[in-house]
């Protein structure tokens, strides 16, 4: 197709916005851990910008978006970005190279999200291996299923900006990580509260800002659907922040700032798959439900007894699952859901979600077991006590 300068300019900016989400996530997560682990946690998000960029160019983009093999994976035609042009757009009005860069930013933030589950206890070499193997064996295939012309795309699953591919996928992996690596030393006995809530709120703000690129940019053109996606994103996020705060106010007696930041992220996650398919009024409902649901998920964690350190399962897993199903309920633009007379869409969404859950859980489990048997997943008990910043990186976040 002929390139369009307006679309291209918009997508250049959207790509840069999505890139900023990963450092935003580093701040969001960094504030939530204890001060002795602030750098290791930051590093686990930030370094995904390096690891995944390289893998993406070597084979990741090709496996995700290369010519389809058996509806499950792409072939290697685009390895090292061969045949990926910056002068032509294949079926799009933006250069193929720009689409590749935009999709790269999604691939970067997904493994970074998972790091919240094993924060404060994973060895650095184990993190490097996990991130590399997980994007290769889980993210690239699932991305191909949904967006690269794979079987879920053929079945008609709706995922506008990555509810299933990114959030549900990472949320399920996070659950498996939390269970396999085990609880942090002293969990449930010692106080493990966030060391810097303002930093977390700043991170949430940067995520919210970057998410406009993520969701509106997923329209891939500077047109009406991008405008809709931007507005639904804003509304669902605001609603999520409000309902989380009201839910905790009602249940625990106090509205917290951390609750507002967490609810905003829950709203962002839930609207992601739906943002270009639903009306603004439905977006408020989707985000509003997400705020309460994810808050309840966080409370359940204590009862179920797994240590998902930074609540990736409750926010991204549960929020992503709700968003995927909500898309099948509320879709009315460019697709129809249950409320608009198409119950089958909800079923397709459920199949898509179920497939991602099963695949991600099994492969993540195998990856973790292999790493544990080779380099080991966890730092030793003394190292954990001292903090990963010192024992893994020989530096500290704060010196007075």
């Amino acid at each position: 197709m002929e390139l369009n300068t307006g679309d291209t300019a918009f997508m250049l900016i959207a790509t840069a916005l999505v890139m900023l989400m990963t450092p935003g996530l580093a701040l969001f997560y960094g504030g939530l851990v204890r001060s002795k682990n602030v750098l290791s946690t930051t590093m686990q998000s930030f370094l995904c910008l390096g690891i995944v960029s390289i893998l993406w160019v070597v084979y990741g983009y090709s496996l995700s978006f290369g010519p389809d093999v058996g509806s499950v994976i792409g072939n290697l035609d685009f390895a090292f970005l061969q045949n990926v042009s910056w002068e032509k757009g294949t079926g799009r009005t933006i250069p193929d190279m720009l689409f590749c860069a935009f999709q790269l930013m999604f691939a970067i933030i997904t493994p970074a999200l998972i790091t919240g589950a094993f924060a404060e206890r994973m060895k650095f070499p184990a993190y490097l291996l996990f991130t590399s193997l997980w994007v290769s064996l889980v993210y690239f295939p699932v991305c191909h299923w949904v967006w690269g012309g794979g079987w879920l795309a053929q079945m008609g699953a709706l995922d506008f900006a990555g509810g299933t591919v990114i959030h549900l996928n990472s949320g399920v992996a996070a659950l498996v990580c939390a269970i396999v690596i085990g609880k942090r030393k002293g969990w449930g006995k010692e106080a493990m509260h966030p060391h810097n809530v303002p930093m977390t709120v700043l991170g949430a703000g940067i995520l919210w800002f970057g998410w406009f690129g993520f969701n509106a940019g997923s329209a891939l053109s500077a047109g009406p659907i991008a405008a809709l996606a931007l507005m639904t994103t804003q509304l669902a996020t605001g609603a999520g922040a409000l309902t989380w705060v009201f839910a905790e106010w009602k249940i625990q007696g106090k509205p917290t700032t951390l609750g507002a930041a967490s609810g905003a992220v829950a709203g962002l996650v839930a609207i992601t798959p739906a943002c270009g398919y639903v009306t603004p009024a439905c977006a408020i409902a989707i985000g509003g439900v997400a705020g309460v649901l994810c808050y309840l998920g966080v409370i359940m964690k204590g009862k179920l007894g797994y240590d998902d350190a930074l609540d990736v399962v409750a926010v991204h897993g549960l929020g992503g699952l709700w968003g995927a199903l909500a898309t099948g309920i509320f879709a009315s633009v460019g697709g129809t859901g249950l409320l608009y007379g198409n119950p089958k869409q909800l079923l397709i969404q459920a199949i898509g979600a179920g497939a991602a859950i099963a695949y991600s859980a099994v492969v993540t489990f195998i990856i973790l077991k292999v790493i544990d048997a080779t380099v080991g997943l966890r730092v030793d008990s003394d190292g954990e006590q001292q903090g990963l910043d010192l024992v893994e990186h020989s530096e500290v976040g704060y010196s007075i």
């Binding site: 966030p194 809530v197 905790e248 609750g259 966080v298 409370i299 204590g302 609540d311």
Partner: protein, 112 residues
């Protein structure tokens, strides 16, 4: 010579400092400390998890003064730091063997 260590509520620091200045006390050392006595801690809530925080922030003031002024100073600190509520703090008086001013080498009374 005596050393007075007073542990007080942080927001009372200015009042105590002003009261000591009125008596001509020309210097002091303070530190931010945490502790608890009869005053209970408080509860903090982060994402649904409640933590009871026992150690409460306080300010510790340290001054060294001639022995005959101790009673007067202790009274002044008490008056300035008092809110009539639990958690107002404690004052300790300790003996000091020797004081030296680093710059001049002056000792004891001349050095404070």
């Amino acid at each position: 010579m005596k050393k007075i260590e007073a542990i007080i509520k942080p927001f009372k620091l200015d009042d105590v400092k002003d009261a000591l200045n009125e008596l001509g006390i020309k210097g002091m050392t303070i530190s931010e400390v945490k502790g608890y006595g009869r005053q209970k801690g408080h509860t903090e809530i982060y994402r649904g998890a409640e933590y009871v925080v026992d150690f409460i922030p306080k300010i510790k003031i340290e001054i060294v003064v001639p022995a005959e002024q101790v009673d007067l100073i202790v009274d002044k600190i008490r008056n300035a730091a008092n809110t009539d509520k639990i958690g107002d703090g404690k004052i300790f008086v300790l003996p000091v063997e020797r004081v030296v001013r680093v710059r001049t080498g002056e000792e004891n009374r001349d050095a404070v």
